[in-house]
Amino acid sequence: MNQWMTLFKKEMLEMSRNFKWIWVPLTFIMIAVKEPLTLYYMPQIIDSLGGLPEGAVIELPVPSAGEALAASLSQFNTFGVLIIVLITMGTIAGERKSGVAGLILVKPVSYAWFVTAKWASSMILIWFSYFLSYFLSWYYVGVLFKFISFTDFLQSFFVNGIWLTLIITVVILFNTFMKSPGAVGFISIGIIVILSLLSSSLPHLLEWSPALLSAYANAFIMGSNFPDELLPSIIVSVFMITLSLLASIAIFKRRELA
């Protein structure tokens, strides 16, 4: 366990040395908080830009608090996913490509710990940024529209978070396959897009799909209840996360590092 802590601490140190602890939360905050703000100020924005002819009457339906927060949540599934992939796609692949992994792994380092330390540190960074930004978003929705109950906020936070966790894990998995961070990013995004598209176009066939978790969280925050398929979806997700992690370790052990 000592060695795991050493590996983990190195990851945390690296993240602070290259300022990931600052710019990742900031980016998340920007993409999440902008939603309730723009929704609220839309009439004024259109007004001040003066894009409409004299005398035109703008009537925008005032969005509900739930809709405003759901808008933030859906941002995590577009820009959020992109950022997650971008910051994790090189975590192992990059070290293998540069050659430093060769230097580290000729030491008696456990492959499982190497992979899980990378995974855990990415998880902490992303969950921290995700929580901070979603929480701020919730706060602004409360101030500008109406406060949504904190437990509802937390529930949607965790349900959507499981989907994000699966994404992190998939990116780590491809990291152990390939040496090029670009290829890792490309394939991960491809898989996520395909899974999301399939799940949203065939929801009756894939109602247990992890990709639907964000849709479930979205609908929930807008006022409907979680469907019965929530639990199976979560179970499938947790299963896939575990499987991907185990596969990452197994693949990484067998790879030639140089």
Partner: protein
């Protein structure tokens, strides 16, 4: 018992067989040079030994058997070492030490010790990104030996360095010899001769020659007598060659070179003849063929 035994090691990349069946053993406390031209298979061999590449067939068995984690026994420095540039030298060495299983305090002391030994103490708190090539090479050696391995493998440790860096690293390796067995690859025989007692000579993926340098010298080197006269060197040389104390004669510009079997006998014979006939001798030199020439011959074959 040898630290590692290699039997019938083979590796191919696509359609090219890079290593064609290597057999050798490395024993504790020896310094061995893996010598060969570029593309001979030195780096591939070292990578397989370090476990970074898997051999297609054959076995590499470290002391302690196949089950144990052999990585405790070895230290490895790749040809182009890359570090975490954002770390300081000290952080990296301590990190390497911790990963190798040293307790925190031991790792710190050992790192300190190695900075002294490698002579880069001044730079220990600097980011590695700012290190020069020679400093990186020395940091690389330090991280390879931090856990006192039984065998240190260095891939071309001096090839990329300027003459000063080369000298420093060679001297460092000379110090290391006392602590651990060293296997290092080089394409320069001089480097090998300077610090090693044994060589493995690799050519096109095969071990063409191996053994102690002294042994190789007696096996391959021949005594040589160079003669030059004030005039008519060719004519005199041919006359002398009638005495036949040598195995071959070569005219080399101004000189006549004789490869001889028995140096004492040949010298006696030549000198008496020259004195007797009062030939205008200007140069009489006894030397040996260089080992380098022997290897050049092998490579060019």
């Amino acid at each position: 018992m040898p630290v590692v035994s290699i039997t019938n090691l083979k590796k191919r990349f696509q359609d090219q067989e890079v290593i064609k069946g290597l057999d050798f053993q490395l024993s504790e406390g020896k310094c061995i040079a893996l010598l060969g031209a570029n593309g001979a298979g030195k780096t591939t061999t070292l990578k397989m030994l370090a476990g970074l590449m898997k051999p297609d067939s054959g076995s590499i068995v470290f002391e302690g058997g196949e089950k144990a984690d052999f990585r405790r026994l070895i230290g490895y420095l790749p040809q182009f070492p890359v570090f975490y540039e954002w770390m300081t030298g000290k952080e990296f060495l301590e990190y390497a030490g911790r990963l190798a299983g040293l307790p925190k305090a031991t790792a710190r002391n050992r790192a300190e010790e190695l900075f002294e030994l490698t002579g880069i103490s001044d730079a220990k708190n600097r980011r590695i990104g700012k290190y020069s090539g020679g400093m990186k090479q020395r940091l690389g050696i330090a991280q390879a030996i931090i856990h006192r391995p039984k065998l240190v493998m260095l891939d071309e440790p001096v090839s990329a360095l300027d003459p000063f860096g080369r000298r420093e690293v060679l001297e460092l390796m000379d110090k290391l010899k006392k602590e651990t067995a060293i296997l290092f690859s080089t394409h320069i025989l001089n480097d090998a001769e300077e610090i090693c007692d044994e060589i493995l000579f690799l050519h096109n993926g095969e071990l063409v020659e191996s053994g102690t340098l002294a042994g190789l010298r007696t096996k391959h080197q021949q005594a040589k007598i160079d003669l030059a006269f004030k005039e008519n060197t060719l004519q005199y040389a041919e006359e002398l060659s009638l005495l036949q104390p040598f195995s071959s004669m070569k005219l080399d510009g101004e000189y006549a070179s004789f490869l001889v079997e028995d140096i004492e006998y040949a010298r006696e014979l030549f000198l008496t003849e020259i004195m007797k006939r009062n030939l205008p001798l200007v140069k009489f030199e006894i030397s040996r063929t260089r080992l380098e020439d022997v290897f050049m011959k092998v490579v060019q074959k």
